[in-house]
Symmetry: C2
Amino acid sequence: MIVGLGPGPADWMTPEASAAIEAANDIVGYDPYVKRLVLRTDQRVHASDNRVEMDRARLALKLAADGRDVAVVSGGDPGVFAMAAAVFEAIADDPQWSKLDIAVVPGVTAMQAAAARLGAPLGHDFCAISLSDNLKPWTIIERRLRAAADGDFVIALYNPASKARPTRITQAFDLLRALKASTTPVAFARAIGRADEKLTLTTLGEADISLVDMATLVIIGSSETRFIPRDDARPWMLTPRAYGVSR
Amino acid sequence: MIVGLGPGPADWMTPEASAAIEAANDIVGYDPYVKRLVLRTDQRVHASDNRVEMDRARLALKLAADGRDVAVVSGGDPGVFAMAAAVFEAIADDPQWSKLDIAVVPGVTAMQAAAARLGAPLGHDFCAISLSDNLKPWTIIERRLRAAADGDFVIALYNPASKARPTRITQAFDLLRALKASTTPVAFARAIGRADEKLTLTTLGEADISLVDMATLVIIGSSETRFIPRDDARPWMLTPRAYGVSR
């Protein structure tokens, strides 16, 4: 089972995910995700560092081939910039594993948790782009950012920064600032659902990108996205369902 | 509370969503979503037809302003082509409602459920586009389809067809067929998680779009998306994390 744990809190984890963890003999995953779980002493834990997704995927498949019931865990949704792709890449590379009984358990992903806190920023057509160029050339990321601006999509940026790639978020904002209005609403949603959750509302022109780290999900509005002011509270962020229609 | 019920089965509904329904005096929503819920006799139900999202949003806000604890329910994630945008549009139109205590409860949306069944088709950058032109001009939908092809995104199409708009899916496929390889993997994921669930794997060139109805989520691959064959089982659909890299 390739299991999505959601963004953090237990109440964002589906009953299907909880049942899959309960049923597993072996739990395989990135250490901080495994640490979230309350496990039994008879369950074996195989926690590993980040950036070793393929090793983790192969270990899980090997355990399953040995007859173990295995849960590979991801934060968020395993299908969105997470472990599902790594596991199926391993299967594509070694067809013996295509005989295994595999299922994916979906989960709430970071952009949905961020959107829920913000109002309805993804209320209309949107795209999700990972800024990590560990496995893809930066040129395709630039091409996608340009296309996202051309299509006037709301843009959710995953993996926006890391110690290894401190300049990528700067390059992405420079590119988008040349293509979109400086007044475009922007939100930085950091560690949503966790104790250190932090939301920052700003605009494309004024955004302080030094606030963005690897735990931050960035949402950049379309030309229709707006803030709705509130007294004594953070504005709501809304992308209306109607487009280019005077209301 | 604006509550996402997930794609259908109770085990895809988060504990937070269940608790929000439990806590509500009034449940407001599209009739088929409300019917999924097991409610108490003291809970009032306000079920309505489709296409009256704004009426439903205003009713919910009025009940909340009267001091009721209200749950506005959506299938899937309320933030993705669902009720959250309608509620915040109503608030933007009438600032008196911005004083209300409102929260959004995210949920698993159709493309995630479809992706989970298919393997990992959303394993890399993707976009979500609603083909409904009830509230937006068809020209912006065409612009977004073009941009999605230019950016080589995986494309998830929501609301692909209805009795009122039988030709939109044909137009969308004609447009994409002119821009993307005919061998591009395509999946039609119908009623995922429900009793009549049906998955169809095909290609952009060979897809029989008469199979697509309003309950279908369409996923169209990027240039990297592939099928992984299995003996005696439906192939897996994978968009690998690496791009343009020989493996």
